[in-house]
């Protein structure tokens, strides 16, 4: 029976044999495999939670960006011509999306409306104490603290402008948090990637050690490297995939819990909580599988005869 190379039929039988061996091992080594699946799922759940937080931060930032405004208060003694001139300059600025002029009277009326029944205390003023102003909306992609500051300073320098106001601290905090979460996600992602790979690496190393005798015999009988490796790679792949499936289910469960239960108590949550796209729930098991596959591959190492 001189065998040189393998036919497709033989390769298929080897693949079948490898799957059978891998699943037998998953069942036979159920404790170590369950622990690995659990560890992989915890790692992926933590990572995905960070992604969800990150994506919520981004959507909050985008929502806020839509309503982000800058108020330019004018000097009390500014002339109508100067107001018009400032308006023209602001309209010509391509970084500004909209310019809305609010006269002294409009400001006074707005304050009165806001104060409601208490507005009578404003009757002591013979004329409006508020300056006229411009409400500006910046371009969405302009939400960078440095650029906003520069823009505010640039407008502040215009003749006739008394003060430029925007939520400087709020914007700064939000951007810092978003950047921290984004950076954290990257660092966490790398750490989880290494951890998941290492967890599977360790498990497969243990399984390799337990089946050392079998591997030695297989090598002596003439088993190819692929024949020896494949069951371990399949096992690693499925451990990672199962870990990913558990993680997907946990994230989906947590998300459902937050949206359906917590919203009852805090309706604002509905607008805050952004879900992961549905495809991500499929990507998580695949990512887990690929990380574990890599761990298994490194664990098996070079097979020498």
């Amino acid at each position: 029976m001189i065998a040189k190379g393998s036919s497709n039929g033989e390769r298929f039988e080897i693949l079948k044999y490898s799957f059978k061996t891998a699943f037998k091992s998953i069942v036979h080594e159920k404790w170590i495999n369950s622990l690995t699946i659990l560890s992989v799922s915890i790692g992926l759940t933590i990572f995905c939670s960070f992604i969800i937080i990150n994506s919520n931060m981004n959507s909050a930032l985008q929502r806020w960006a839509k309503s982000f405004g800058m108020v330019v208060y004018l000097n009390e003694d500014v002339s109508k011509e100067r107001e018009e001139s400032i308006k023209r300059q602001l309209l010509q600025d391509t970084d500004i999306e909209t310019v809305n002029y609010i006269s002294k009277e409009q400001s006074f009326e707005e304050i009165k409306r806001t104060m409601g029944e208490n507005a009578m205390i404003l009757d002591i003023f013979k004329e409006t104490p508020l300056p006229s102003s411009f409400e500006l909306k910046l371009r969405k992609d302009y939400l960078d603290i440095v650029r906003v500051k520069e823009k505010a300073a640039q407008i502040q320098r215009l003749d006739g402008v008394q003060e430029v106001q925007y939520g400087e601290k709020w914007l700064s905090s939000l951007i810092t948090i978003a950047k921290t979460v984004k950076g954290g996600s990257i660092v966490f992602g790398a750490a989880i990637f290494i951890a998941v790979t290492f967890i599977t690496y360790s498990t497969i190393k243990i399984l390799l050690h337990r089946r050392k005798e079998e591997i030695e015999t297989l090598k002596l009988l003439g088993a190819s490297r692929g024949f020896i490796r494949l069951p371990f790679l399949i096992e690693g792949f499925f451990i990672g995939a199962l870990g990913g499936i558990v993680s997907s289910l946990v994230i989906l469960g947590l998300y459902s819990f937050i949206t359906y239960k917590m919203v009852e108590f805090l309706p604002a949550m509905k607008f805050l909580v952004t879900s992961l796209p549905l495809q991500v729930y499929l990507v998580i098991p695949f990512t887990g599988a690929m990380m574990s596959l890599l761990g298994s591959f490194i664990a098996i190492g070079k097979i020498r005869y």
Binding site: S6, E213, L218, K219, L220, L221
Partner: protein, 220 residues
């Protein structure tokens, strides 16, 4: 079929084989004998590429063993039946599965595997032990399982390292009869043994290895 040409091998600067040359013809049954540590096992290991020679050329059928690359070794071994001194049976697999392993690595389908394994086990008279685990078998029976595993893929060469090492005379005779039967079908058989009773008056060629050399060669 098997050629050793000027082969030397040493471990940690201690010579085991020194310029050994040997030709084993196709279909021959040859005994390698000598005291412990003479290099009998090393000669077999060199033939199935578990060891590499320091010098010399080794050929088994079409394979120049001393020049084989790592990925080429499995193919050589799939065409050689090997009987190990310590059996190398997997304790967590049945007799059937142990023998079937030698065919599974070929990528044979389960139907054919069943046919060939049953045939091999019938040959070694162990068909009734097909579902037993190795540890429940006697030493002689375990050795017969190893022979069945070595022969099931119909190899062109059979290498046996101390095949009767731990067996009583009766079992040793059974094993030797099996080797003779295998050899009579055309398989080249190389047996390394220190047990003279195995080859006495067998009519087969014997080489006596001593002090790293082939000291003598004769027909028993």
């Amino acid at each position: 079929m098997i050629l050793f040409s000027d082969v030397s091998k040493s471990y940690e600067n201690k010579p085991v084989l020194n310029s050994i040359s040997l030709v084993v013809k196709k279909g021959e049954l040859l005994f390698i004998t000598g005291p412990s540590g003479a290099g009998k096992t090393t000669m077999l290991k060199l033939a199935y590429c578990a060891e590499r020679p320091d010098n010399g050329r080794i050929t088994v059928a079409d394979w120049q063993v001393n020049k084989l690359k790592q990925h080429e070794i499995p193919e050589l071994r799939r065409n050689i039946g090997i009987i190990f001194q310590d059996f190398k049976l997997l304790s967590n697999r049945t007799v059937f599965d142990n023998v079937a392993l030698a065919l599974s690595i070929h990528g044979m389908n389960p139907g054919k595997i069943r046919h060939y394994v049953n045939e091999a086990l019938e040959e070694v008279k162990l068909l009734d032990k097909v579902n037993h685990f190795p540890q429940s078998l006697s030493g002689g029976e375990q050795q017969r399982v190893v022979i069945a595993r070595a022969m099931v893929s119909k190899p062109i060469v059979l290498l046996a390292d101390e095949p009767t090492g731990d067996l009583d005379i009766e079992n040793a005779k059974v094993i030797m009869d099996l080797f003779s039967k295998i050899n009579s079908k055309g398989t080249t058989v190389l047996i390394a043994t220190h047990d003279e009773t195995l080859f006495r008056a067998s009519g087969h060629r014997v080489i006596f290895v001593n002090d790293h050399y082939i000291e003598k060669e004769y027909v028993a």
